[in-house]
Symmetry: D3
Subunit: 228 residues, 6 copies
Amino acid sequence: MREVVIERDFTDMTPGSVLIAFGRTRVLCTASVEDSVPRWRRDSGLGWVTAEYSMLPGSTPDRKRRERNGAGGRTKEIERLVGRSLRAVVDMSRMAECSIYLDCDVLQADGGTRTAAITGSWVALHDACERLVAEGRIAANPVVDQCAAVSVGVVDGRAVLDLPYVEDSTAETDMNVVMTGDGRFVEVQGTAEGAPFDRDELDALLDLAIAGCTELFAKQRAAVAAPH
Amino acid sequence: MREVVIERDFTDMTPGSVLIAFGRTRVLCTASVEDSVPRWRRDSGLGWVTAEYSMLPGSTPDRKRRERNGAGGRTKEIERLVGRSLRAVVDMSRMAECSIYLDCDVLQADGGTRTAAITGSWVALHDACERLVAEGRIAANPVVDQCAAVSVGVVDGRAVLDLPYVEDSTAETDMNVVMTGDGRFVEVQGTAEGAPFDRDELDALLDLAIAGCTELFAKQRAAVAAPH
Amino acid sequence: MREVVIERDFTDMTPGSVLIAFGRTRVLCTASVEDSVPRWRRDSGLGWVTAEYSMLPGSTPDRKRRERNGAGGRTKEIERLVGRSLRAVVDMSRMAECSIYLDCDVLQADGGTRTAAITGSWVALHDACERLVAEGRIAANPVVDQCAAVSVGVVDGRAVLDLPYVEDSTAETDMNVVMTGDGRFVEVQGTAEGAPFDRDELDALLDLAIAGCTELFAKQRAAVAAPH
Amino acid sequence: MREVVIERDFTDMTPGSVLIAFGRTRVLCTASVEDSVPRWRRDSGLGWVTAEYSMLPGSTPDRKRRERNGAGGRTKEIERLVGRSLRAVVDMSRMAECSIYLDCDVLQADGGTRTAAITGSWVALHDACERLVAEGRIAANPVVDQCAAVSVGVVDGRAVLDLPYVEDSTAETDMNVVMTGDGRFVEVQGTAEGAPFDRDELDALLDLAIAGCTELFAKQRAAVAAPH
Amino acid sequence: MREVVIERDFTDMTPGSVLIAFGRTRVLCTASVEDSVPRWRRDSGLGWVTAEYSMLPGSTPDRKRRERNGAGGRTKEIERLVGRSLRAVVDMSRMAECSIYLDCDVLQADGGTRTAAITGSWVALHDACERLVAEGRIAANPVVDQCAAVSVGVVDGRAVLDLPYVEDSTAETDMNVVMTGDGRFVEVQGTAEGAPFDRDELDALLDLAIAGCTELFAKQRAAVAAPH
Amino acid sequence: MREVVIERDFTDMTPGSVLIAFGRTRVLCTASVEDSVPRWRRDSGLGWVTAEYSMLPGSTPDRKRRERNGAGGRTKEIERLVGRSLRAVVDMSRMAECSIYLDCDVLQADGGTRTAAITGSWVALHDACERLVAEGRIAANPVVDQCAAVSVGVVDGRAVLDLPYVEDSTAETDMNVVMTGDGRFVEVQGTAEGAPFDRDELDALLDLAIAGCTELFAKQRAAVAAPH
């Protein structure tokens, strides 16, 4: 697995702000709080957690065009994935009808941006909730478990963990796995890019992903244990 | 599994046209051919296969609003899934730089629309390619294997195959599995809607999905074996 | 006139659902009910009837692109025509501030899609209203008369009824006529595609349209007389 | 009929520019020329004539919102009508693959804006073509006949010519008629706003429209006969 | 300075309507009143003044395309400038929570359209407010000072006042200056189009702009002094 | 003036990448190179420099909504300003028909984001051009002078340099000044937010801006003098 670095409070305008690096991939994850929930959720007593994702134009060697006429399919897919993943570890009944937006802006993209986004957003979410508790806006931290994600793939017939872009783009199979701190799955998304994969390959990829997430959970715990 | 009915040549304007039913779910899958490929693929000697998906407003009890200001996230996600799935069984080098559009329009939605769309689109694609061969526009049928998909889920702690809407909306886990005729996977997309799932549950769901796809392959073969 | 076939309850998610064929042209007309009216009509004691129209991509030999960046001029023109036509035979004061959406989705297009849409929508509207009465949501059926439409045209100097696409596209004059069951006009829209037309031609076209609508009224009555 | 005033060369940036008034209704019609035709018409040897229509925000007592997110249904309908009407009197083979845009901007709206737009655009088109001939860009004036339009309606059971807004909004039937100088019809668009209309009413409205257009043709001839 | 002509009540649907000419440049400025303010301003006791700007397609020799997919950068910049300028001379507390829209539609563009728009809008705003007072809708005229604008530029090394298009497009420096009747500045926007400018040039341009605005203030006073 | 920190090569995917801080304001400026120019500039022998600007959602205490349906007026105004400013110091004839995009993404916003964007973009542009020269893609560095910008304002009647948000939002007058290294002006944009300003105030603001830009030029020179 590439080196993972988690830098908390990278910016100071939002209650959660994390710059996470998976190798050369760097994603800024901020957690903003709003004192309302979407219309369809009002008067439910529940809060809401959602995510947005964007790649900065300079995040890739070939300039990435801004999505100003609506987000593209890939972007929306990632946003839905990040949001679902984090909601899986949040007890919305403790959120007092407020919304937390996790904004994942990719400063540099070298593969694994969505898994870095999930892993970093969890830290930003944790920090924001701690501050909400400290300010007395909510009674107890609604984050009930950790959540992290890693990509695995089959490259040249071999299962590989946390693929950088160069490997990712040539992988025969690409899988993103989102797990909770208790070792269960939130998402398993495996895609054959080249040849389809069989069940043995699937099992080998899952083994590797579990090992990767276990490592990420340790990084997250170390990060949030430090004072800030 | 709910009753599956495949009706070929439901309309007659396009070389492939299939109305597929998974229980009450009904999807019209048409295959249209264009004599060009997207710009980024020109002069590659390769063809292209892509998909679009839409739910008719009357396909659900609560009217579904048309997506006239851009397709939503769910729609784009499904379109990408259908396209990727079918490309996995097509040898693009046999397509002579033409494009095939698979349009999946849901006439009635009762859960499993994306898996019905994939399964039905394969038949429409097959028929369109047969006709291209018959007309001499391409030399050999580029469809090299079957492709089918099924949804599985955990409902009340039990693995269930091909969920109708009522079960789907209450499932703890929802998984879509796309397979090729030789028993391998193109896509495995498992999502915890409620509690995360563990590896045993994942394995049980995969077993069920394999059984379901096997049944669908038989239905597809029976369909395309009939004269039309 | 081409053969007209009206199939009620083609789908079963909406209170009205009609698949109507004018020759090879086939349009699915569904009637969905919502328990509210547009903002500008609130507290008027009146209901609302409106229509949307779309051609499926596979409805034509050359694939029809989806209108995802706003409906085009032709589409909006047809939607306004269908809505106006049906509102002409509805007593909105009997609708209890609910809205009925008539969605006309063209499965196969061979000329006359807008006239088929109007004629089929009337049956879907009738069925939906009957069910609203049966459910006790409204006291009396607000549909006070029949409504049907037909196209007529001048082809090679001769007035022709219900033009299929091949004739329509070469017609010198194209006219759509919408009538009510009592023999009056709701819309008369005549357009010279080639040479302008004189008053005699106009009169001959109107005669033909009246004959066509009379035939359609009989088909509609037969359809709604059958139990379902 | 309300007083009709045609002011040529109201602006001087385009080869045709006409401010036309039908009573209080005032529409600025400019004709701009481009040295190319739309892509689908290239290499046909034919030119193209098209129209756009817009109401200025201050043209109505209640401010009219600008259509900056796509033109609405009514606007597109009018644009199509104006373009079709003028194309009916143009011999495109004399236009040397150039395009003429007729822009109809309503400065003040008091009913009949679309008919004023057609009638005024004809003069702007005529002037622009005269100048193209004078400059030697085309060999002969492609405008082969006059074209004018008028609205008629049934108000309080009586056929009325050229309705101002107050009458138009209460008319039971509203009809727009576009004619050519030789007394034939390009468009006949009759719509029942309230009760449907019968054939006698239709005939009375047509008689009135013919009289109105005849008057407009005289006004147009007087306008273009004057030196400028 | 080019000849400036101010024609009040050019149209009669809005309480303020001014056609202003700076040489060949002609802008129609209408002032429409609405009995509400934007959401963010409600219950403040304050009114609102805002502006929109558009160039008609026929206002330039090369046809100007309509901005139907959102206003462009230049348009929005001008709209913001016009709105800010006029708000600088309005006491919003006297407006009784109504909004005034200044719509500046350029009929003919020959340079200086934004400065003509500001200068003409002031007259339209003045007239509209006078009428609001006359109707008793507001107690006192909220327009507390005059506001006018002029462009200045460096052409061939020489400071020039009120540049027509031909000079404007070749100017080395272009500056728009908005002033109030008491001789102070609301906006100073100087832009080097070619070589940057030094402080002496800036001072010379400001001197010229002050002279130009002084002349415009006299024109405005003469215009509003006349009965209408 | 607040502390200014310039960090070069903050990311490493683009030939220029600068994180610039003006106090708490932090803007990431990347320079991406494309081997083509916009269509209207082709075959001119000239290159092109343009800019885009965006605020990240987490850059402000109240979350800033992404501009996914088109950039707003303020954004476009800033983008045009940044692009114009940098083009003023570039000799496009040395750019070999390539385009440089300066992307200014605000990570944290505390006033002065546009002036930080210009000042930082100059360094990113310089670095990118140095690398283009080093790679032999262009013969000589086209950046012919420095360019920096600063905001000045009148707060409580006193001229103040480089306003943070809290002061900026209460300033009576706000002025942005863009200068070149030789002490001349590219842009002077002064706006009265409250009371209009007189000529003495204008002169005092310009004096202050000149002092600020002089300081920024020194910072830029120090930054680009360091090896990297």
